[in-house]
Assembly symmetry: C2
Homo-oligomer: 439 residues x 2
């Protein structure tokens, strides 16, 4: 795990006033990266760093004299229309860039004059995906999610025998990963239907999945696994992620090889990637219950046991089209905590993914799987919230939802807070459902 | 389906003499594409066309005066280190390039003088992947494979109820797809072990899968499905493909979300992509048995019924390290025919993949799944050939194989032949097993 350093000092304040506001996602202790441009312009997309309600344009800041040596190389790498080159540089470069940014954005710095012109209001920005994702893998580390979903199918043995040994994962579709704000069209497909013939039509059980996405740094050569001790150094950062799912398409198609059209119509990634270094104050020991097996050696290290988990608060909010019309705020459907939700750590996912020789590349995305807590109001999907659709939830204003309706806007949020550290946030991961294409 | 034209005329001969030899994979009627350079040089990889035992270097040929208008644009697009730009141009451009190449390589053409200098012997070439693959999907269209494998688990109902309705597929790993000739390291991983604890070590059941890979042309925008009538126009071509599989890792890890480490350590793609136009003489009606259901409308068209299938002969050959030492030729393990093996056509795979809105991109790879015939000597994997490893096969020289051993070289071959058409081939898809990494 990254150790604490001057960039984590909770007393630090920025000359960007909004970064000092209570409750901001982006104080100077955070400094997450995104790829952005001014909304509605033909500008090139390029790397930026969030500070309060502003974005520091890294390409513009290059001439500001705040970077030297390794931080200059790292800042230069972050000026492209994706952050892959920065991710490929590795943790020393990331750390050097973070330190330079932290010093340049601190209250009282001489860099303020030069950098003020490099700020763009987040309200005036639009985003691209932070990485050119080469491969996307979705895991299933949410043990309460796996248990709840398993119960719907197998009440007596909800968790399969491999769950506490193998970090279960599968490959997902990269081309249909979109950045937060992109509308999501309701998919059409086969569902089980009668014994004689499946049904075909728009999904009637469209759902979200509350996930975190882990973005890979340098990665490994094919055939050369990453040891768990080296896994954290291959993680660049974390972003909110929504793995939209069609619950009626999945059961009919997924045997024997796994989900396909139920998942590949769209997944939404938040623009802001919070670095592993920013998360250093919020690492925590793994949660294990009595009777849980010791992990196999390739999935175990003292560092991972002591601080492999991420203490991140998460929430899901819904605003229907009708709520928007009448000016009603989004309602919170659920909230959970990544540490309490997850059986496996990001380092274990990296070690497992590569143990057979599979190569990870800079910008690859590992989804966590749905991060539900154990309580009924901590579910990370409608499937769990409504018990497979059987218990629709009542929304303020009287609407009912068993699954998502056209026009619904789903927003994921995440943040870290604890005594003695400055709160940091992940921004938002947003998507609105469009009706299925007419046929 | 592409109609026959002058490029398919079986009477055509080339001024490249080796292209006229009986049994060549690459007569002038074929003209497949690859990405190559002179072996062991620092030259850029670039597009080439096979003609007999030679490669026509398209970048070098650009100045030869044989291309005009659309064929010039297409040839230019094929000079990069991948064929994605050519694939993105679509069938009219591909066809125009093929016609120009066919005319320029014909016996008696005036282009011979200029183009002779643009030939490089295949024996002196090395290859890169033909495409920068954005996403890789593996299907499961081999109905005899699905039946045989299903029998190992469920003797009474080998085929699942969805098989004849849904073209079953799942997303695979793109980063570990390598070009033919790249050695493949035996993967290490968890296997079932005792009730108390899984085993961990090198796979003892390493296997191949005889597949075809379909390479996507223009593709579709997210949310806009490709109708089956338009599916063929989105297919650039076909290459041999080996989806290496660890049969002992798969059963322990694959529930509930599908194969992961059992497959993602390596897959091997042949360098030569045979275009759909070259395959026009070898299209055939779908095979359906009495009682097979009518496909749902989005998977059905008159053209697909009449000629959606591909009549391609396939074979698998094995040469062990010991056979190499004593100079013994590879032995044929099995042979099959893609049309007899497959329940679904490439057009049905494209229509199904996109029906929910998933976008395909130029250079995406769709694997067919294992193409086994119904007979015991037509199996596309060791799993079937040896009945799950229970009946090891004897090799000439006395060695036995239940699964692949270190040092084994596996070669896939494919070709089309029928009365009234010139035989065309797919080259080879080769891989040799390296021992697992020492730990």
């Amino acid at each position: 795990m990254t150790t604490l350093n001057e960039t984590h000092d909770p007393a630090l304040r920025s000359w960007v006033a909004s970064a000092n506001a209570t409750g901001t996602d982006f104080p100077i202790q955070n400094l997450p990266f995104a790829v952005f441009r001014r909304k509605g312009t033909p500008e090139s997309f390029r790397g930026g760093v969030a500070i309060g309600d502003q974005i520091l344009d890294l390409a513009a800041a290059l001439g500001g004299g705040i970077f030297t040596g390794e931080s200059q190389i790292a800042a230069q790498a972050a000026t492209q229309d994706n952050l892959n080159a920065l991710m490929a540089l590795g943790p020393t470069a990331w750390s050097s860039l973070r330190l330079a940014l932290s010093r340049a954005l601190r209250y009282g710095t001489s860099a303020q004059t030069a950098l003020t012109a490099c700020l763009i209001a987040q309200a005036e920005a639009e985003y691209a995906l932070p990485a050119r994702i080469g491969d996307y893998t979705d895991f299933y580390i949410g043990i309460h999610h796996a248990t709840s979903v398993g119960k719907l199918f197998r009440p007596d043995s909800p968790l399969l025998p491999n769950y506490k040994w193998v970090p279960i994962g599968y490959h997902g579709r990269r081309s249909s990963i979109v950045v937060s704000g992109t509308p999501v069209r309701r998919p059409t497909g086969q569902t089980k239907g009668s014994a004689e013939r499946p049904d075909f039509g728009p999904s009637q059980k469209l759902d979200y999945e509350l996930e975190l996405g882990f973005l890979i740094g340098q990665g490994n050569a094919m055939g050369e696994p990453i040891a768990i001790e080296d896994a954290e150094a291959n993680l660049f950062g974390v972003a909110l992620f929504n793995d939209w799912s069609a619950r009626d398409i999945q059961p009919w198609e997924y045997q024997p090889l796994g989900p396909f059209l139920a998942k590949n119509f769209a997944s939404t990634l938040a623009p802001w990637v919070v670095t592993m270094e920013a998360l250093a104050p919020f690492r925590a020991p793994l949660i294990r219950e009595a009777g849980d097996p010791e992990p196999l050696p390739y999935l175990d290290s003292p560092g991972n046991r002591a601080g492999g988990a991420l203490d991140i608060q998460l929430e899901v909010c819904l605003q229907t089209a009708r709520m928007r019309e009448v000016g009603q705020d989004a309602v919170r459907l659920s909230s959970s905590n990544a540490r309490e939700a997850a059986y496996w750590t990001p380092a274990q996912l990296v070690a497992h993914h590569t143990v057979g020789g599979c190569n990870l590349e800079p910008g690859d995305l590992l989804g966590s799987g749905t991060l539900s807590g154990p309580a009924p109001n901590q579910t990370g999907s409608m499937l769990e919230l409504t018990q497979g659709g059987k218990q629709a939830v009542a929304l303020p204003g009287g609407e009912m939802r068993a699954f998502l309706a056209d026009g619904d806007t789903l927003t994921l949020r995440g943040w870290c807070e604890r005594e003695g550290a400055r709160r940091i946030g992940f921004g938002e991961c947003v998507g609105t459902i469009l009706p299925a294409l007419a046929r």
